[in-house]
């Protein structure tokens, strides 16, 4: 049989040659910085996809784990703290930090039913934000922690000007995450996740330890979200203020998973491309274009494309659930149509 590239390989392949195409395009048409954001959100959403897509548990506080990763990474590496472990150890340590945070939240809450669990994760997200904002001694309050170090491959530390280095670093890390999750998907653990999503009671009867399996999904998702948070802090060279990790971010990640295809890696990639593309390419460029024409700005609320963000997220969720419950790129193992 002839080998044909699947959707994941196609997407990654196109992403890999995008900077080369940009070389011949005028600077106004450059999108690689925004596409870097797509990679970051794809990592975050792949994490959310484990807990929501595979294990069927709605998590509305994924941004909190991103915040924990970002602040954890900053505290481990920043020069105002005693640790200063450096970029690579720091970014790898965000994984166990996130997993631990996920474990601590998951341990008492995972036996709750679906909608209650969703609300607990939402509440956790708000509490984390408030704590980060109010514990100024450690977190510098609304200033955020900076400067957060960047990687230094070949001597000097990268800056924001090293656009394409960041681009390929994020792409490479995304590929590593995809490969890891693909293997997880086909492992015993992955099948256990699908099984408890379809029928918890039956899985228990088959000898699956439901609590432990749910906990692993929760921790894995939290670890990936923390990893994405650490990367985002590094590229911005600051954790930013705690409200950068608010409910809106969690919902954006949820939009990516639901619109793209819940439980499908290729779906999450497409979803990230669509949602982040709308959010940070189409809206931003449209705002700039309207301002250039002199009809944008604050004079009319409807004419500023940024003001349509909530509406787009909301419509994406409502329409996806109604019209395409399995997303744009459904998983190969179809979910039970309930």
């Amino acid at each position: 049989m002839r080998w044909r590239p699947g959707p994941i390989v196609c997407i990654v392949g196109i992403a890999a040659i995008l900077p080369l195409v940009e070389l011949v395009l005028p600077p106004a048409a450059h999108v690689s910085e925004a596409v870097r954001g797509v990679f970051l959100y794809a990592i975050l959403a792949l994490g959310l996809n484990i807990v929501t897509g595979y294990a069927g548990l709605l998590n509305l506080g994924i941004a909190a784990f991103m915040a924990i990763g970002a602040y954890g990474f900053a505290i481990l590496t920043c020069e105002i703290y005693p640790f200063q472990v450096g970029f690579w150890p720091g970014i790898l340590l965000t994984l166990p930090i996130g997993a631990l945070a996920g474990f601590l939240l998951g341990a008492p809450t995972l036996r709750l039913r679906g909608d209650y669990l969703a609300i607990v994760t939402l509440g956790f997200g708000e509490i984390v934000q408030d704590v980060l904002k109010n514990l100024e001694v450690v977190t510098k309050g609304t200033q955020g922690i900076n400067p957060v170090p960047a990687p230094a491959i070949g001597g000097t530390m990268w800056t924001a000007d090293d656009e394409y280095k960041w681009y390929y670093l994020f792409l490479a890390l995304l590929v590593v995450v995809i490969v890891a999750i693909r293997n997880l998907e086909r492992s015993r653990l992955g099948r256990a996740w699908f099984s408890i999503r379809e029928d918890e009671l039956a899985s228990r009867a088959m000898g699956i330890r439901v609590e432990r399996i749910k906990m692993l999904a929760f921790s894995a998702a939290a670890a990936l979200a923390a990893f994405a948070g650490g990367l985002s802090a590094s590229v911005l060279s600051s954790t930013g203020e705690p409200s950068n990790y608010d409910f809106q971010v969690s919902i954006l990640a949820l939009c990516i998973v639901i619109v793209g295809g819940i439980g499908s890696i290729a779906g999450v990639l497409v979803g990230a491309l669509v949602m982040i593309g709308l959010n940070s390419i189409v809206l931003v460029k449209a705002t700039a274009a309207l301002e250039a024409l002199g009809i944008g700005g604050s004079a009319n609320v409807l004419l500023s494309p940024n003001n349509w963000k909530y509406l787009i997220f909301g419509l994406a969720l409502v329409l996806a659930v109604r019209l395409k419950p399995n997303g744009l790129v459904p998983p190969r193992i179809e979910r039970r149509a309930t």
């Binding site: 607990v120 003001n307 909530y310 909301g314 409502v318 659930v321």
Partner: protein, 318 residues
Amino acid sequence: MEPYEVFLQQLVTGLSNGMIIALIALGYTMVYGIIELINFAHGDVFMLGAFLALTLLGALGMEAWAPGWQLAGVVLMLVSSAAFCGSFNWSLDRLAYRPLRRASKLSLLVSAIGCSFICTNLGLFWGGAPMEVFAGGVAAAAPKDFPQLIPQYNLLGESAIRIVPADVAVLAVTLPLMIALVYLVKRTRLGRAMRAVAQDSTAAALMGIPVDRVIGTTFFIGGALGGFASVVYALYNNTIGFQMGYRAGMDAFTAAVLGGIGSLPGAVLGGLLIGCVRSMSDQYVELRWTNTIVFGILVLILIFRPSGLLGSTRREKV
């Protein structure tokens, strides 16, 4: 002020805000009771009600009216916001929730979250209306001042504790509504139909109850309560904004869970408790930790006593 006077003052504020929270919480608890959906958009429907009230107030120029007429204006705002929010909530059910009756509960919740975001955005657009009460619509996202239509003199005369007519107004609106609601649910044919659908919608349908219409009516009543609450909230707190629905919604949802979701007296008790917790925390802990405390209560109640204070423990159906 003596320490006990500070305490009593916070108690008055807490109870007044608590009654408003309770009114919103009733909307959550009714909808949850009947279709087990956390109607995420409820808080945002409440927010839109406040915007409608402010629009009416500005369009009719109520600020310039004589005091007696202003009272009539308040009644007009209450009725219009209630009708508007009720219809809006009914439409949400018709368009976004009813088609998903057979889908999984999580799809329903995701749809509700989507509706919440859409409503938030509508509030942002509304705030950009080119009217004087919206500051000409220049800063659409900015919080809006809601004029004090109810006078602010102290009913207790020279006492250090202030009870203003707005406190009385809150009670005068919320209490009769709660009594009417309990009467409706416990004593009328419609109420019996609602309880039947809540228990077992299939059996109710077999008994000839028009299930979808009963659910729609429940959404209408819940939304209308939110509409009443929005006007009272705006008159009492004198500022509204397009993001207030999330905050108020979370307070009210916490109240509903605290009291026992699905239980009407529970929602009222929870609302009063949350109102008091908020005002006490503002005074005795720190303003900036208040939200954390409310969310902490929400999380702890869900973990340790998901049935709430007055709710009944019901086994989940397989």
